[in-house]
Symmetry: C2
Subunit: 206 residues, 2 copies
DNA sequence: AGCAAATGAATATAAAAATATCGATAAAAA
DNA sequence: TTTTTATCGATATTTTTATATTCATTTGCT
């Protein structure tokens, strides 16, 4: 699991810091951030220390400085271009998801083998899957989202890795393992829902 | 984090066991299951022990028996009815997602405040949000999926909990804490993607 | 029947993750 | 200037999670 959790917390810190900045705050304390994301202040300081984020004794951390450094760590200094592989219902919904654009992430193209889904002229073009490798190469894409049927997920991941993709967010219903040189993060809707259903039947799930 | 991870592994075990059953296997060993989901055999045995799943020394576990017991634990002996709160792009995509139906989960209704999205006659009706409480009560719904804008997420979660919902799968872009009597699991697309992007820039992310 | 091999079950160990503690220090107050 | 106070930074502790190890038992073979 390496440091996935810590990196995810960085995203959470960043979100809160941006809100604080919008409210005009310039300083923040580990205590406050800790309360906001429900961890201990010690963990906030440790996370920051681990990623080279420093503060000042007595006067806490500078909001602006933290955001700048987090932007560097999370690759937000430029717009990150991402492709969508598989453009069924979930894929298209994510292509239209409005939560990425303002956060320095752009889905620049989709790929699907079904001609009915292809559309070169759309705001985000959906191309035939055969054009995958050329596109990745010419656009220097490093990150892909995958929403393909289970049957194709494994081979498609191999294909993406071979084409130079360095990390995949995989929504297909099969859990894939990291490949050499390619990080894979699996999100399985069925498992998440089964999990929630399990806890819906537990006593005082709080 | 309680035992979320263990429950998620139960989902994974179950998926693999169903495939083994389809292939005609009747017995399975912790070693095999461990390899399939990339953990140690000891963890498989411990997970099983923790949830009361037993096997036989020398002859392993019975595939059929494991599936039956997992079905009981994961509430798969009946069809679980779930509602969708917020029927924008992601919500509708999940309502049409074909990965739930065959797994004993049915999204029976959607709710949205936007009249344009409402449709009483659809396969899965989308009702006005004002009908939420009555529906939950009359259909004895315990589980909800939430895909509402950030602004409404907090109050909507409170409202769901007050209406009797026991667990929420929250896709809205704000991390919610468990409420008294209501478990909340957050899935944040932006954080997941930021995570993946982070690792796309690390060396040998494997 | 008796024995060897293999495996679950239980326990112990290790590794990882989160929290608590404490000293140093900078800012504010006296 | 001195004192006080609040907070970071570093370390130690605890807790949680996962893995090894050991033991006992079942099965199949001779």
């Amino acid at each position: 699991m390496s440091c996935e959790n810590a990196v995810r917390r960085l995203s959470e810190y960043r979100r809160i810091l941006c809100k604080l900045k919008a409210l005009g705050f310039t300083k923040v304390f580990s205590d406050h951030l800790a309360g906001a994301i429900d961890v201990s202040p010690a963990l906030v300081r440790k996370d920051f220390a681990d990623f080279g984020l420093t503060g000042n004794r007595k006067s806490g951390y500078s909001v602006g400085e933290l955001i700048d450094k987090l932007n560097r760590i999370l690759l937000k200094e430029h717009t990150e271009e991402v492709i969508m592989v598989g453009c069924g219902g979930i894929g298209r919904a994510l292509m239209n998801y409005n939560g990425f654009a303002g956060e320095g992430i752009r889905i620049t193209a989709g790929f699907d083998s079904n001609p009915d889904l292809q559309n070169c002229d759309a705001a985000i073009p959906v191309l035939d899957i055969s054009r995958l490798e050329v596109y990745i190469n010419s656009h220097r894409i490093r990150t892909a989202i995958m929403t393909v049927p289970e049957t194709y997920a494994g081979t498609m991941a191999d294909r993406l890795a071979a084409a130079g993709i360095r990390a995949i967010l995989n929504f297909s219903p099969i859990t894939l393992k990291n490949l050499p040189g390619c990080f894979i993060r699996n999100v399985n809707f069925l498992y998440e829902l089964e999990n929630v259903i399990y806890f819906s039947a537990q006593d005082t799930p709080e």
